[in-house]
């Protein structure tokens, strides 16, 4: 059993991560716990102690999710890696969605169509990670499609649940996550997965 500890900015990010995890790992093979910063400042300051807490609570792997926003990726990664250095556990991953986690959700028009019961699949941007305001872009896309209202704290989890892994993997900042999860699987389970 893999026990994942998420450290994220808010609960909707945790919800997205849980849904995506279920697409990679077999049902019942993982459990999750979390800490949320309700903003990025607190996440940065607290991520080490939260990671330690999560390990104490039985988590085997830690995943830190921090939107890039208007920061410099190299600097942000360096800062988070430094904070997480020597934390322990079986593995840790730092994910920095570019520029926001909503860029991942913008990759799957079918998922958006399903969640908002749109009549047709909305036209999604070719490279969501090049959009500096993916949240705003998603909001506009849903509104333009059928005058429906997208609210990130309400709908992100449902879009993630409906999204296809192959679409999400279009985002460079997302790709390390499925790989990390597969590696985290015990060898037996991995072999069973590859046979299946």
């Amino acid at each position: 059993m893999i026990r994942l500890g998420f450290i994220a900015e808010d609960m909707s990010d945790v919800g997205v991560m849980r849904e995506i995890t279920g697409k990679v790992l077999p049902a019942g093979s993982f459990g999750t716990r979390h800490f949320v910063g309700q903003g990025c400042g607190r996440l940065k300051r607290k991520c080490r102690v939260w990671a330690e807490q999560l390990l104490q609570k039985g988590c085997t792997h830690i995943v830190v999710v921090h939107d890039l926003d208007d920061e410099i990726e190299k600097d942000l990664r360096h800062l988070l890696e430094r904070a997480m250095k020597g934390v322990g556990g079986k593995g840790a991953l730092i994910l920095i969605p570019i520029y926001e986690i909503e860029a991942w959700l913008l990759t799957d028009g079918m998922a958006i169509k399903e969640v908002f019961s749109l009549q047709k699949e909305p036209k999604i941007p070719k490279n969501p990670e090049s959009i500096s305001d993916p949240k705003g872009s998603l909001e506009e896309l849903v509104w333009r499609a059928q005058k429906k209202r997208y609210i990130n704290t309400v709908h992100n989890e449902s879009i993630a649940a409906a999204a296809r892994l192959s679409q999400l993997e279009q985002c460079i900042s997302f790709r390390p996550y499925p790989e990390f999860l597969r590696k985290a699987l015990p060898k037996k389970a991995r072999a069973a997965g590859s046979r299946g």
Binding site: S117, K148, R149, T153, H155
Partner: protein, 408 residues
């Protein structure tokens, strides 16, 4: 939208100035500092736009004379209203206006020191139908007869500007902290009379009014209701799975006796409406919902479906789990781009989700009364940059507040 407001001599507001954010303003401050009083003062403006009070009312109650000066931004034009009101508080602590005068500074129309008197209701209905005018009948006739000459002299552009403000104010919505709490009080059904077109809502208030509004909105079949369901339904917050309204036709018979003894029988067609909410496998009456769920449903319904331009919201955190509060704040923030929203809060969590420029600190001093300071505007440029850096790297606005960072 309101760009500036000054409240003089209203409860704790001795001379309170407030320049709200164009989108979202969050008022924070200790109990008794005057947050609610400031919001109540703003709601008086709505009363002025929907009720006509021109010098009538009881003479034997203790009254207070207040002045509310408001600057509105209307498509690039700044309009200033000076509203003098005489009020008393009724047994429910509601303001009853017994006299009011509304004067206007209108750019390019009124000379700088000579404001023009136009009641808000007059602007709304003066060019309306006879039926609309009859809505405030005697008051309008009284005012327009007394000011017949002055009314003739008011330029058409002035009417138009004042009407825009009156429309803005009449659509204002106010939700108190206690509104929609204790759903156990909710009736399991309500009755409507068959009117022309849509069923006419009877005089309902509070929880039942919400259910009636929900029913009416569903029957309208516009996008507002489906947006509401998108948010609260299974693909959104999943507070409920489904809402159904059972409609049971009923009737009542009234008898009246005319002169000469003729008895007239009147049959009125009515409908008993029974709201039912499906949550998982359970079908519940509204009074079986939890307090937080009921309040969240009501707040989200009104935020998403009503055409209001200004929303005053007191303590959205009351009865609500922080996970749900996060979602309510998401709804508030999205709607604040189209509607000006002013909310008061005691919650650090709320502060964590807004920027410093949205936060206003409210304080009270015996000699000065209630004072409001914008957090961002009261800091120097370097102090504000230091705060932003703190929020980027160290902590949240809520804990900064709790730790005394926003205290004087």
């Amino acid at each position: 939208m309101i760009t500036n407001i000054e409240v003089v001599n209203y409860r704790t507001c001795l001379r309170t100035k407030f320049a709200p954010h164009p989108q979202l303003s969050v008022l924070i401050g200790p109990n008794g500092s005057g947050k609610t009083n400031l919001l109540h003062a703003i709601t008086i403006l709505k009363q002025l736009s929907t009720e006509a009070r021109f010098g009538r009312g009881p003479q034997d109650v203790p009254t207070v004379s207040s002045r509310i000066t408001v600057t509105f931004a209307l498509a690039g034009t700044e309009v200033r209203l000076l509203a003098d009101v005489k009020t008393f508080s009724d047994e429910n602590n509601r303001d009853v206006i017994i006299y009011s005068r509304q004067r206007w500074h209108l750019p390019g129309i009124t000379p700088p020191r000579r404001p023009l008197t136009i009641p808000l209701v007059a602007a709304l209905y003066a060019h309306g139908s006879a039926r609309q005018q009859a809505l405030f009948g005697h008051d309008f006739v009284y005012w327009s007869q007394r000011n017949a000459m002055a009314v003739q002299a008011i330029p058409r552009e002035a009417w138009s500007l004042v009407r825009s403000v009156a429309e803005f104010l009449s659509q204002m919505q106010y939700y108190s902290a206690s509104q929609f709490t204790n759903p156990a009080r909710t009736a399991v059904s309500f009755e409507i009379e068959e009117g022309e077109g849509l069923p006419r809502r009877q005089r309902l208030s509070g929880h039942s009014a919400f259910l009636s509004d929900l029913y009416t909105q569903r029957n309208r079949a516009d996008s507002g209701y489906s947006q509401f369901l998108d948010i609260v339904g299974p693909k959104g917050l999943h507070l409920i799975d489904h809402i159904e309204f059972q409609e049971i036709p009923t009737s009542s018979i009234n008898y009246s006796v005319q002169v000469g003894g003729k008895v007239v029988q009147q049959t009125r067609a009515k409908m008993l409406i029974v709201p039912q909410l499906t949550v998982g496998k359970q079908t519940l009456s509204p009074n079986q919902l939890s307090e937080g769920t009921f309040r969240t449903l009501a707040l989200i319904f009104y935020l998403t479906t009503q055409p209001s331009t200004l929303i005053l919201l007191e303590e959205p955190e009351v009865c609500v789990h922080h996970g749900l509060l996060n979602s309510i704040l998401g709804v508030v923030k999205v709607h604040s781009r189209e509607k000006q929203i002013i909310l008061s809060s005691h919650s650090e969590f709320v502060l964590d989700h807004v920027a410093p420029e949205n936060v206003f600190s409210v304080s009270f001093r015996q000699d000065r009364g209630t004072e409001v300071k914008g957090i961002a505007s009261s800091l120097s440029r370097s102090a504000l940059e230091a705060l932003r850096e703190y929020l980027r790297t160290e902590g949240n606005l809520g804990e900064y507040w709790r730790s005394g960072g926003l205290d004087e």
